[in-house]
């Protein structure tokens, strides 16, 4: 394989891929525009947004309001639905033509489908699922941080030579910037480089989730139960406690395996990653796989009968005691 990537000295500009739903940019894309502005000031570069879709003029204007100086807009029926083939071809062609220094995408389902396909096609590095981006002025490159080993560690990753430096970034890592409807920017319409017959996949059916289980992800207070809760009846008591606190109930994998809780409520590396203000772990030992899901929890309370349970190392407050006694006492206390 010849390395036919982009010369680092000829690259410029920070690009953000704008993901959209219902003709509005997703929050994560706007958050990235905000961070791109911060980096652009340090690196003395402009911020460009890449908007791909069908009838998405409004998305382009919104991207300007959230911080883009320039928009590459690729609009056409080929882009009505996301497809790896069409979207990656557009990004690849734009990158080879305009040679950005940095390309940011959200660490969403689409971002993580698209970014590696593009990175490989332009022979550059891609840092996955980042939780931070810093500009190192001394060697003029970006330092990307990402959780490693099931969030037990944070890795700093760099892409020193090849361009663009690409990364997918988790939602809610950066602040949503203030929308400025009066910001001006330039919208450049790019002719579609893709025709329908180059899209090798077709979407034949979709089924929306009945209740989008975002409640755990967005909850400020989560009460979670593990194997130590003991039985389904006591698990239901967690529901009562959560209601009193205005929170929702989650579970460890062991509790899901026991059948006490729905798999959708599993918290951890192979479950949901949550970021509550208050997390109450009941009868959960605190395995790394579980802790992976609560790295962003602000205050952690653990209730466990074993004072040596690892969960106490991650907890701010702990009660050593039996679930069957403590949970009713807490409910009582809050009544």
């Amino acid at each position: 394989m010849d390395i036919d990537g982009i010369n680092k000295n000829c690259s410029s500009g920070i690009w953000v891929f704008i993901e959209q739903t219902d003709n509005k940019p997703k929050d994560v894309s706007c958050e990235l525009l905000g961070q791109a502005r911060v980096l652009a000031a340090q690196m003395k570069l402009a911020v460009t947004a890449v908007v791909i879709g069908h009838g998405v003029n409004q998305v382009a204007r919104e991207a300007i309001a959230f911080g883009a100086d320039k928009i590459f807009l690729v609009d056409g029926p080929e882009y009505e639905h996301y497809s790896t083939d069409a979207f990656s071809t557009v990004c690849t062609k734009l990158i080879y033509t305009y040679k950005p220094a940095v390309f940011l995408l959200g660490s969403t389902e689409i971002g993580r489908d698209l970014a590696p396909r593009v990175a490989c096609r332009v022979k550059t590095g891609l840092i996955a699922d980042c939780t931070g981006i810093y500009f190192a002025a001394d060697d003029k490159q970006l330092i990307w941080t990402r959780p490693a080993y099931g969030e037990a560690a944070i890795a700093e990753v760099v892409c020193p030579e090849r361009r663009p430096q690409m990364g997918t970034v988790r939602p809610q890592v950066f602040e949503l910037p203030v929308r400025d409807a009066y910001r001006s920017g330039e919208i450049i319409q790019v002719d579609s480089p893709v025709s329908f017959n180059e899209i090798r996949t077709s979407l034949v059916k979709t089924l929306e989730k009945q209740s989008k289980n975002n409640s755990l992800k967005e909850a400020d207070i989560v009460v979670a139960g593990g194997r130590g809760v003991g039985n389904v009846k006591q698990f239901l008591l967690l529901e009562t406690l959560a209601k009193k606190l205005g929170g929702v109930v989650g579970a460890s994998r062991a509790a899901v395996d026991e059948g006490w809780s729905d798999p959708a409520c599993q918290i951890g590396q192979t479950g949901q990653i949550i970021k509550p203000k208050l997390y109450i772990a009941c009868g959960i030992s605190g395995a790394v796989h579980h802790l992976a899901g609560i790295a962003a929890a602000r205050t952690v309370v653990a209730i466990n009968k074993d004072p040596k349970a690892p969960i106490f190392k991650r907890a701010h407050y702990g009660i050593v005691g039996e679930i069957e006694q403590i949970i009713p006492a807490l409910i009582e206390q809050l009544s």
Partner: protein, 263 residues
């Protein structure tokens, strides 16, 4: 139908040793297991072979030790296994890894269908599958949970943020697997014996005719500069409430939470 399943050995537990300077994994130091998502991919492959016939090849890039997981796949029912092993492969990032795997796929004579896990539990980038698809210019479908094939047309049920989605495409294709439909398949004694005796060839950089500029640390655009353990840095000191009645404990806890404006 020729199916290639890409499998990776991942550390068993959360505690993994890192090379103190290069920050690459010292895989020898941790017991390895078959990446759980790759096991799902294997299940999917077995179900497809049951329906459509054909062969399942398993492919892993890794140290000698990765033979263990290849044997596990053979015991599950894979027909052939190949290890891609060369000291100069170590330190490969996802671009270099996908390049080496693509060379392995080509040397195997290609495939109708390639299955990868959705992500590997250690690096957890979820990039190798899509990058391998890009290397081979294969159709790419991620997050698959069910696959149906009818006269070379593939239908993949995938799990999305909003629910479910069905995509169709012509073979050849690469699908990354989130989970396989429930199976009741049990490892058989026959399978285990066959796996034990089966020859697993190992191919190195020369066998694969890969370019030195594109493999290992020198062929990887990304580098891990540093690894820190946030749990140590942000180590929280826990205020333990112990040795009290449940009522007292509950009162103290709620009191503290209110006092600190957490509630």
């Amino acid at each position: 139908m020729k199916i290639i399943v890409c499998v990776k050995q991942v550390p068993l537990t959360g505690d993994v040793a890192l090379h103190p300077e290069k920050y690459t994994l010292l895989r020898q130091s941790a017991l390895g297991m078959l990446n759980p998502y790759d096991k799902e991919a294997m299940e999917m492959a077995l179900a497809l072979r049951e329906k459509h016939g054909g062969q399942i090849y398993v492919l892993s890039m890794g140290p000698e030790q990765a033979r263990e997981i290849l044997r596990e796949c053979l015991a599950m029912g894979a027909d052939e296994a190949v290890l891609l092993n060369d000291p100069c492969f170590s330190g490969s990032d996802t671009l270099a890894t996908s390049y080496i795997l693509a060379a392995g796929v080509r040397k195997l004579g290609g495939a109708n269908l390639i299955l990868c896990g959705q992500c590997a539990l250690d690096g957890s980038t979820a990039q190798v599958g899509p990058e391998l698809a890009a290397q081979l210019d294969f159709v790419q479908i991620t997050r698959g949970i069910n696959i149906d094939i009818e006269s070379d047309i593939l239908t993949v049920q995938r799990k999305t943020e909003n629910g479910l989605e069905w995509l169709t495409a012509s073979l050849p294709a690469l699908v990354t697997i989130l989970q396989a439909p429930q199976s009741s398949r049990l490892p058989t004694v026959k399978g285990a014996i066959r796996a034990k005796n089966k020859e697993i060839p190992a191919w190195n950089a020369v066998d694969l005719a890969v370019s030195r500029n594109s493999i290992g640390i020198s062929g990887s655009p990304t580098r891990v500069r540093r690894i820190a353990t946030p749990f140590v840095n942000t180590a929280v000191s826990c205020q333990l409430i112990t040795g009290q009645t449940p009522e007292q404990s509950a009162r103290v806890l709620i009191g503290k939470l209110r006092e600190n404006l957490i509630l």
